[in-house]
Symmetry: C2
């Protein structure tokens, strides 16, 4: 169906964090639609700021669909109340994803409790990983009741303390295989080029994943040098990731979904949103 | 033999980069000796600045030995001349390590040519990895003629473009097994807590390594947040790495060598060297 568009960006999706400092979500949707971008991946805080019902209608009116919904996860906590609160929040995220018609809920699993705000309450990475496993199991059980696929996103190891203790594709796939031994497409992974490009086992693990586990594909670029651990991602083509090769590998494994641009960057957040989106389209057509 | 000292830091070594901005190598050696630190791991540029013969004598006079020598590696290049120059430079590094009585030469293998200076001439990570493999093979052949063990240091994935395309312990051990199927202690790895603490396969791979492959153990800490990809390492105890647990794992696998403190940090480089060394000793005794 998507292949019927003739804008040259039928498979392009914009993760709405890419221009989150310039525009509200309704405006981002409009700017995308105007350019023939038919897919976005919004964040929960952006949806909440505008209102779920309004965004749901706005998407329909604009003819823009979702490539995913960001994000569930952040399971680890230092006490039972915190663990329970995380599970409840993940159920809400699943419901929102469903209401918006997302093809999957992206899971950034979390890691050491408190680390994201600079005050880690625990250094026990193994415990965090166990809590993540348990949290994914519980959330998967709920997500299956509403038929919402969960896509675990392994994050770059430099995020292992604050944002995700799932740091390689192999580790994410091991979790998938443990929780859902027969892959049905309801539990899988996000491959984000930025997070995994360095991995010596990347090709092997993408091959292992296959169509049933590959639920989303994100791109940006790794700058040399990279000046910040979070907000210095590059526009595709400005860094060193072999994006065409990686996309070919992902598609050879059976992936047939969108290519989602997700750039956290102080530089690009300070540019006009229209310029950023035009760059995304241009680079998507030439280097991705 | 080392166990005969009674300073409480018999197994402590100082990687001399830790105070490289405050002192020259002879002064670092003196400051260590004065505190009962009997081991250092110097860098080639520091040795060159003072003169190899002078440092060799200075170490003997001070009663200070080496836990390793930093560093060989940086094999990838964009042309044959560059590859050959890297091999020649690695032979010199082996010779220097031998002259100084180092137990091993630390190998930081390099990655995309030109990336370290901000102008990558290639984005081909697979090619860099092949060049590293070939460079290690050639250097190992030379090192064996003078009986100098090579210790491959997997670097954190955030260094995959600039400094090392060997980024996990598993990858380093795979190279060791390919180049030296029967482990003799002449080819192995450096485990640096900072580079590997995040790895979900860390325990398994340390167990795989064993005494014949574990040639050096480095420590510092991972700060939350980390503000720079290179020069924001933490003093042991200031971050989130479970150092005692990691050391126990390394020693359970058969490692019986020194614990080397290596801290690249603008913060600690701006403190008086004496204070830094005193902190290293104190933290070594309490949290490592």
């Amino acid at each position: 169906m998507l292949r019927d568009f003739s804008t040259g960006c039928e498979w392009l999706s914009i993760n709405t964090a890419t221009v989150r400092k310039q525009l509200g979500l309704p405006q981002i949707i409009d700017q995308c639609a105007r350019r023939g971008i038919r897919l976005v991946c919004p964040w929960r805080d952006q949806v909440e700021a505008a209102g779920l019902a309004l965004i749901s209608k706005h998407l329909k009116d604009a003819g823009v669909g979702l490539s995913g919904y960001c994000r569930g996860g952040f399971f680890p906590a230092s006490d039972t109340a915190g663990l329970q609160a995380a599970l409840a929040d993940n159920r809400r995220a699943v419901d929102e994803a469903k209401a918006l018609g997302a093809p999957c809920l992206v899971m950034v699993v979390g890691s050491l409790p408190g680390a994201l705000t600079g005050t880690p309450k625990s250094h026990d990475l193994s415990l965090a990983r166990q809590q993540v496993f348990d949290g994914l199991a519980a959330t998967l059980a709920y997500a299956q009741t509403v038929d919402m696929p969960l896509a675990i996103e392994p994050l770059h190891p430099m995020q292992a303390a604050e944002r995700a203790c799932v740091n390689t594709l192999e580790q994410a796939l091991d979790i998938c295989d443990a929780l859902e031994p027969v892959a049905t497409g309801k539990l899988g992974v996000v491959i984000d080029a930025y997070h995994v490009w360095w991995d010596p086992k990347l090709e092997t693990q993408i091959g292992r994943a296959g169509a049933k586990r590959l639920l989303a594909y994100h791109v940006c670029d790794w700058l040399v040098p990279t000046r910040d651990l979070v907000n210095d991602r590059g526009m595709m083509g400005d860094g060193v990731i072999e994006l065409k090769k990686l996309r070919a590998t992902v598609e050879a494994s059976g992936y047939r979904g969108p290519v989602e641009v997700e750039i956290f960057s102080d530089r690009w957040w300070s540019a006009p949103a229209a310029d950023v989106l035009d760059q995304c389209i241009g680079r998507y057509r030439t280097v991705v």
